[in-house]
Subunit: 250 residues, 6 copies
């Protein structure tokens, strides 16, 4: 079992360069371009002063996500979902995952009867788009909450802690952190892990693409993921503190 050689000499336990750009577009309450290497996802957070039917009159808010991929975000062009007239199963799976992950760190009662829509659109794909989307959506959601705090619509933050996500996988017997596309295509096991700032799991989704994986392999992957998520949260924090883009409530 020789170690798999990664692009650019990346180590097995190393994240790709991560870049988080806040204020990437001007209209949304939160707008973040997140890059995991060549994967680029634009995450916007839009505040709407109403809730879907199942929350009406509950005093609680809602956080929901949609995911899309530009037709030529990928190596070969894929059909535009709007033109085909429906979202694929994969798209729906991913947007449900993003929504659940973000709701896990929101106190919906404190949000009040309003909705935060998180739109995660992949401009360029190279593996890990759903984990980049969750990690970037948290920053966008934080900016949207900051806007609500600054405008006095909220007096206390409904966000309980940070959330971030990373993919891990086993390629040629080696557990790798943050798979890029060629690794993802070659891997036997692919796992997406979502964790909170407290170091607990929100989602663990492991799939054997080739041979099934053992408990020991699973343990190794969870360890790698934990390491990566700690690093991502530091980057989220750094990004959110950087430019003081938005005035804060005291």
């Amino acid at each position: 079992m020789t170690e798999f050689l990664r692009n650019g000499g990346r180590a097995a336990h190393q994240l790709r360069p991560v870049r988080i750009t806040r204020g990437y577009t001007i209209h949304a309450e939160g707008s973040v371009l997140i890059e995991f290497g060549n994967t680029k996802v634009l995450c916007t957070a839009s505040v709407e002063e109403k809730v879907p039917g199942h929350k009406k009159g509950s005093g609680e808010g809602w956080v929901t996500a949609e995911y899309g991929m530009l037709p030529r975000a990928t190596h070969t062009r894929s059909d535009r979902e709007a033109a085909r007239g429906k979202q694929s199963g994969r798209t729906q799976e991913i947007q449900r995952l993003i929504g659940r992950s973000l709701r896990a760190v929101f106190d919906l009662k404190k949000l009040g009867e309003r909705t935060i829509h998180l739109d995660c659109d992949v401009l360029q794909a190279d593996g890990g788009t759903r984990t980049a989307a969750i990690t970037g959506a948290f920053v966008a959601a934080q900016d949207a909450v900051n806007t609500l705090l600054a405008s006095g619509k909220l007096s206390a933050t409904p966000i309980t802690q940070p959330v971030a996500a990373i993919s891990v996988g086993i390629v040629g017997g080696t557990p790798l952190l943050d798979l890029e596309y060629t690794e993802d295509a070659a891997c036997d096991t692919d796992m997406n892990v979502v964790m909170t700032g407290a170091g607990h799991f929100v989602e663990v989704q492991g799939t054997a693409e080739g041979v099934a994986f053992t408990r020991a392999e699973m343990d190794a992957l969870l360890g790698l993921a934990e390491k990566g998520i700690v690093e991502l949260m530091a980057l989220q924090q750094q990004s959110l503190s950087k430019y003081e883009l938005l005035p804060q409530m005291e």
Copy 2:
């Protein structure tokens, strides 16, 4: 942290009564009614002598699954998906999971250029429908393969090993095996685990519904799941040997 009281005095690590009825309907190559307590899923396996586009000319076969729920399988009636004109995200997620799980134990080259369609239709729901579907679909797939072997269309089985699935979760601090509906609705963490006969993981999907879960909790849940799946595989084996419904190849 007192132990949660389960219906019928069931222990935390105990499966509900499982019943596997082969030959439940007459037309399909494999037709299995599987019951996990009050959850009843009809799993049929249909053999089609052609493959979808992405497998044409590959010499390989395909195994795919569809999932549905009768409108009044549940406590309150839900809309019929055929009438609404689309399958929900949940439905698509589940049928993709069933398909991946079954393909994990198939050698598609040995199957030859044909498709096995697994239709899993929930007649009555009380939690765990997707895990019952995977467990039952394996038995139906085995019967369909037996038909192909008996007719001489296949000379060796393309099935490499059994596959089964179970849900586990944490309710009120207690890890429970095989959640029924009321437990599922109350749980903090819900995990679906799919394993092979060799004791390896095909899929692990853990979701924090309420508070996020720790690594220790995850370990406890995986242990419980492993125990349950070993028992399910014994029941699959027993069911497949019981009536010698179909002539076997030597």
Copy 3:
């Protein structure tokens, strides 16, 4: 014109064995598995305490039906309508027929502003699915009404009389009662007849599949149908009286 030989030595004017199982599933207010030989249809009746738009504020209730067939209920697998994204013309025709037939024996004013949804799902098909569905749906509707009476939501039954249905047809010159699939495929004329307990017609739908039919043939078919429906109503009555499943109002 020699008499057509039927499966199992069935006489031309003979029904297949009919079995009506009440309480087949646990959640619905009425749940009936009806079997006409190898044809098996699960009919559930669900009570909803509201009415569709065109009945709002009218003081009247509504009775409506939906029909579906599991993909492998038939000899060869047919596409899942939910996956194709629409119900076929045949499905819509059948569910409209079931709805009209049941409404013919309901006093909608006495039902009050609530809806009874009848879901008829074919688990196994061998001809006559729509007539089995109507006959079984009546029993399910009766159980749902009994539930409403028992709970005090209704003080008098809105059901005015029983309704049942049967198919008849001419195969090789012989009028046959209750066609099974092979007979249906071979017949020149196919007629579905729906009648009330008073012996009157609710629906007569005759179709020449091959050569057109004469008035004399039509008369013969109507006579056969009448005979069959009288027998079906006796079986409905027997089934409803059997287990006293539900407490009755005096």
Copy 4:
């Protein structure tokens, strides 16, 4: 039981004025405007030199129909089906009926591997649109066949006999021929009858809108329908002979 008073002093057994205009539009191989009183349906027959999948390579042709209603053909505007994105159950039921009725008088083998599409579009509705459509579609189909004969694409007609249709119903106890809209809305029983030139039935579709109907009432309705259809066939014949629009084969 006093006789129902009909518009314009029409007798119970009397058709509305029927007008059949051939060559109503210029592009179609057959184009007929048929009027039953205020009901106006444009029936076009289009020949296509290929067949649908289930007839490919069979040496047989196909005859199929589509039905539509202009949004303001009716008293109050109804939604445009193309805008809503689907055809109603009623529309599908009617177009299936028209297709079956026309196929009943076609020898598909003699038609050869080509399709005749019958488009029946209601310009103005006042009851009886489906029966007018069938009656007019036959004339359009005859013109299309004449075109094929004249061009030498066919050497013998595939049409075996005429087909026509009429509605009958019971209003206030009186059996009426050819219901107009207000009669249709008021009737207890509504029956559509399709017959061939030989006086045999192709379709009989009777529906109790209010109280169920007796065998005697059914007999009376069938008699009325037969009378009306004989008259319609005379009008079809007269129309087809009138202008010698198309050269005939000897």
Copy 5:
């Protein structure tokens, strides 16, 4: 550059014979068959006493249009949009154009909170269907307004001036007025022009089908269009005054 020879010896700057038939169908508040040579479009105006969501509570009304083509309005049959389940891009473009054109001559405040639906259905197509539709829809809208005035629902007309439309194009170097189908198919430039009674432009849509067009060509086309529209407005006026179909307010 020799002058293109038009059917029937029509001059380059000459309209086809235009016929406007009011009261073509009986149910709609306005119903006009407009013919530009062989192009025949049925335009109905339906009044609905409510407005779409974006106008609710505004005190303003709405004018909207839908466009359709019967499947065999054209040389070869095209698919029925209702059967395909969606309107083509071309259809949507045209109906949006008709709607905008009519709204340009309506004072929506004076219309009050009601909607006028303009349905333009092409019975026979030979080029210029959208311009015929706009020209005919204006007459239908005027009739609908007259109905509202006559019934006292309106006390003053919300129509500010007439509107009409014509196509122009360059074929073989010659600017032509009112293109028929064969000209439209052969032309290099195709322009649809919508003008008001005051001689101003509501819409100008010029498209180079083959080679791009010069400013001088554009000027020539606009001049031709202006001439044609003046003639169309005289015909609209003549048609509206002709039979005094509807009582007028003084």
Copy 6:
């Protein structure tokens, strides 16, 4: 009639700052971010080595476009078209316009039997998205053609000349070049003009939003548009020559 004051002191006849970034994403054969002030559109050109049905066997290629807008590209979030299950009429109108505009400068015979897909996705909207899309799509198409030339798949360019587009409009009586959103919302007349490098028109689409426009106003707008397009073409040229991103054929 005082001159309308534009943002940032922009003159009536002045373009917003235009930025064209080639190679914006890595997978597409051409990938261009074009900015007209705050309007940002990502235009990718994808080469596919096959053609749609209507071009099969013709020896000719095809150029087609799709257009989309990210949900929060706009001031308030709009529904995601993929989630709603269909593209709006506006979207279809725009993508048809882009496709026609680009085909106007392509010699499809020289392109050979392959398709160039132009995907224009609006990341941020502030008026003029369709004109930015056309202008940017040309640069992306040129890069895709350069790729085909460089790889030897084409030996001569199928592009006959440049194409670009701009919006013009009348706001408060003043003709303005390159409308931004607030101007577009306020304008009486809105015109989109597409021109070739030879200074000829490909498309002229003028719409009176408020009062209809005169011939003189139209002339003024066309003059402004021509000026703007000449400037845009200089910027296209400059961008394409800038980095010599792709090797050229001699």
